[in-house]
């Protein structure tokens, strides 16, 4: 059984089908990349996993639990296991990086200060951001904000991390750093990662499997090598478009 599974998920916004019968599964411990043109429902897919959105029909399951149907207690348990890195990092502007990372531990897990400090230091070290602990989000770069957001996503020792466009708006060097970090966290901590990205080069580098979405449907789901060699017309078009962009 997959750790995360989408079964025939349909989602409409204002009469427009963003997800149209989407079906796929993410296995425990893998890095799963979701790629596709803008507006094909990549971020919407991610939001279904933690019930920020619910499907109009179909099922989204995390470890066998239907996320849309589960009780608020079960949902809290699921969210406890899942870290989420938003596009902009979604850090609270009036708290320092350290306070942002400590937030779930203090506000939700109510851990003692010493334990919080230890866990925060470890999370910041894992994303190589120890030096910026005392800074406010407005005082650090976009790439650092994303790394701080990632530290917050892993500080509760989540076993799944969802990345929403982790490299968007970043320069190529910082993008590579973030992509390496995704792979490193997966290998070192065994974190299952679902990465929504435009960065196909990055996905080919760090992902175990790549899913191509088009018009809310899964077009191809395969390993990077199979993906790059695919005969599927949509995959070829997408690869050509990405090469053209580069």
């Amino acid at each position: 059984m997959s750790l995360i599974s989408f079964e025939n998920v349909v989602k409409e916004f204002d009469g427009r089908k963003v997800l149209d019968g989407l079906t796929f599964g993410v296995e425990k411990g893998e890095v799963f990349a979701i790629v596709g043109p803008s507006g094909t429902g990549k971020s919407v897919t991610l939001k279904h996993i933690v019930r920020l959105l619910t499907p109009d029909s179909g099922h989204v399951r995390v470890d066998g639990v239907d996320v849309a149907e589960c009780s608020s207690r079960q949902l809290r348990k699921i969210r406890r296991r899942v870290g989420y890195l938003f596009q902009g990092g979604a850090l609270l502007a009036w708290k320092t990086v350290e306070e942002n990372v400590a937030l779930p531990l203090k506000e939700c897990d109510c851990l003692p200060d010493a334990q919080v400090a230890k866990r925060v230091a470890a999370a910041l070290a894992a994303v190589e951001l120890t030096d910026a602990a005392e800074k406010f989000p407005s005082e650090i770069s976009g790439g650092m904000q994303k790394r701080a957001g990632l530290a917050r996503a892993i500080v509760r020792e989540s076993d799944v991390v969802l990345y929403d466009e982790p490299t968007s708006g970043l320069d190529p060097v910082t993008s590579v750093t973030i992509n390496r970090l995704i792979k490193k966290l997966n290998q070192k901590l065994g974190i299952t990662s679902v990465v929504v990205t435009h960065d196909l080069q990055g996905a080919l580098m760090f992902a175990d499997r790549i899913l191509l979405l088009k018009d809310g449907k899964a077009v191809e789901c395969s390993t990077p090598a199979e993906f790059a060699a695919s005969d599927n017309k949509d995959v070829k078009d997408f690869l050509a478009a990405m090469k053209g962009e580069m």
């Binding site: 406890r80 850090l91 203090k106 506000e107 939700c108």
Partner: protein, 248 residues
Amino acid sequence: MHFIREVGRTTRVMIASIIAFPTVLRSRDSRADFAVQLYKTGIGTLPVVTVVSLFTGMILALQVGLELRRFNQEIYLGAAVMITLIREMAPFSCGMCLAACVGSAIAAELGTMKVNDEIDALEIMSISPIRFLAVPRILALVVMAPLVAFFCCVIGTLGGGIVGATQLGVNFDQYMSSAMSMAEMKDLFVGLLKALVFGLIIGTVSVAQGMGTRLGATGVGRATQRSVVVSFLMILMLGYMITRVFYR
């Protein structure tokens, strides 16, 4: 339909926040956040509130004083200014200032947080945005609004006294003695009750508008505008209703 949905959402925010009020004292961090909100709401608005209430009292004294002078009743100027301020104008001016200064800032801040996914991030961390964001802000308004209204009343009365002494020939001691003799405790309590209700309404409306923001920067602007407009309208309507209940 949209109006009913908005009213429903705002009511839900109000009820959930009132239920969660005690959590503001739960931890050192939440108490610190609450203290920051108290400062922003109370001390932060004092410059504007001082100017508004001073001139409100001065205008009131001038208008009423000129009419009283026609009947040689200037000695009642203090009473007229004080009663008008304490019953209506102080809570009203305080409400307007808080809606414009604090409510708009809350709606804009929470609206920006909403479009930047910060509120979604809190939900994913299983941190209730109501408890974490709404409660300190709404409770700060509920606590500070009566104090600010009382301050408005004091400053407005002083403003009226200055106009009485400099332009209407009413001795300041006479003015104050008239003011203190006619005002009753009931007037004070009703005035403070109004301010408290206004604080609750401004806080709830601003939080609900901010958290309901959609469509990026345009949405933040719209939420801010709506929070001020709806708060103003609610202040006027509730002000009348409370007066109607206590002064039949």
